[in-house]
Point group: C2
Chain length 257, copies 2
DNA sequence: TTATCATTGTTTAATACCAACACAATAAAG
DNA sequence: CTTTATTGTGTTGGTATTAAACAATGATAA
């Protein structure tokens, strides 16, 4: 489905955005990628204040919130058809930009709807690093990947939102498969293990890990090895799309028997 | 903390509520209780349309969303200091009351802010059945418990919200202790097992269940038995408050080793 | 008063599962 | 060809889970 919406310039946006968007409500996306054995997230930098923040968005008055999240993700990455996981809604009283920002931010006046208090809906997404084309929006000067453990101080409570997203992702690992979205189509067992270790932030046993993920029944081993490394060449694997999706629906763990 | 807020009558509420509350945003509480071996939830009935719905509320412009949820819970049950678990935010385009409702609902006019499209934040809570004093609000004629499997058709997407809340609660059982909020102070092992079976909607093995919950290390067996039953009198237990809270914080399960 | 009943409390056995370890196979580098 | 670091696979011992056996007990009814 093609999403076509009005594009506002920053002045129009600051002054009349509340004609198009739900007031007091926003969404923020924590977009995870994986590259060079490092977990990364996509951050945006404000044009005038140079502050960093999560890529966020607003919800058109006649738009589903999940659709709005997908639209936001698409705008920053160019990607489509990505699973977005809503994980928490943040509604503290501190979620409001200060009046002093109007002095710094071009075109923003003291009565802008953006200076009101906002409740924000948090989503996270897993995307394939190499497929992303980071794109700043009208209000930002830069959009780029940051290593998860080098993220700077972000505006408002965005560092807290990131923390909660990471925690939600870690919880998710126990119940749902992961990797299809973060890895290239063909990958090795060490690649997958490294991904898990990075997200969970701990070392896993190589041999038991292999047994566990194979037991999930969502992997297919190819008759190919990844050559070029300094040592024994590991097999390449790919996900079985059907079984992967089934596991995404039904989950991998089960409760008390 | 005592919450003191303006009380509006229904006419004022319909006409000027948006002066006090965040527009387009609401919250809904799925309040679980347990009685006669049945899982129950608290529902509210609209005065004029006789439709049933989840007890919901709105968020004052200078109020934290979690505080608003606690206030709503308190208004319907009289209870304080209850853990409220936010589980999902619902933002479909169908979340809007029809214009025809103005004909049925007294004092509601066609331009009421309540007829706009709403995004709602879902919370669930576990409460002790016997301590609740169900109290309708200004707009509702009835407030009472319903067995979870006898819940009628609710307004908008409230049946779906309930379903998601139940699922979230079931997931929660795997990772966090439960029961302190739903059972009286002293209870038997069969009581606790019955609670788990009801929520999970499946039978559990009596002996293994006992071992499992005792292994959690949050129960204390009293030198008392529950007499009056037709057969062997079971021991009474109570929760160790400190250990229970620790388990609530840290969880009971751990991820991949 | 006593046998019966249904349920509870505890123990034990069979099974599945998992962390930890051992060792052979192998691609690249020298 | 030998060395090296890593990968692929198998084994082991311990732990957790499931399942079953059996004794204990409070109420009920003969």
């Amino acid at each position: 489905m093609k999403i076509s919406r009005i594009e506002l310039n920053s002045e129009q946006f600051f002054e009349t955005g509340d004609k198009y968007f739900l007031p007091h409500l926003s969404l923020d996306c924590v977009i995870f990628g994986f590259h060079d054995n490092q977990l990364k997230i996509l951050l945006l930098q404000w044009k005038d204040t140079f502050e960093w923040c999560l890529p966020g968005g607003f919800i058109y008055k006649d738009e589903n919130i999940d659709t709005a999240a997908a639209r936001t993700l698409n705008s920053r990455t160019g990607l489509d058809q990505i699973h977005l996981q809503q994980f928490h809604t943040f509604g503290g009283l501190d979620r409001q930009r200060g009046k002093e920002d109007t002095k710094k931010i071009k075109n923003m006046k003291g009565n802008s709807w953006l200076l009101e208090r906002f409740v924000t809906i948090g989503y996270w997404a897993l995307v394939e690093f190499s497929k992303v084309v980071p794109s700043p929006d009208e209000l930002s000067s830069d959009c780029r990947w940051w290593n998860i453990d080098e993220v700077p101080t972000l505006i408002l409570d965005h560092n807290n939102i990131l923390l909660k997203a990471l925690h939600s992702l870690q919880q998710n690992l126990n119940d749902y498969p992961i990797g299809k979205e973060l890895l290239p189509v063909k990958f090795t067992m060490p690649d997958l293990q490294s991904l898990y270790e990075t997200i969970l932030n701990k070392k896993l046993d190589r041999r038991n890990f292999q047994k566990k993920v194979l037991a999930m029944g969502i992997l297919e081993r190819l008759n190919e090895r990844k050559l070029g490394g300094a040592h024994k060449a590991p097999f390449l694997y790919k996900f079985n799309a059907k079984k992967y999706q089934k596991a995404m629906r039904d989950g991998l763990r089960f409760g008390l028997s």
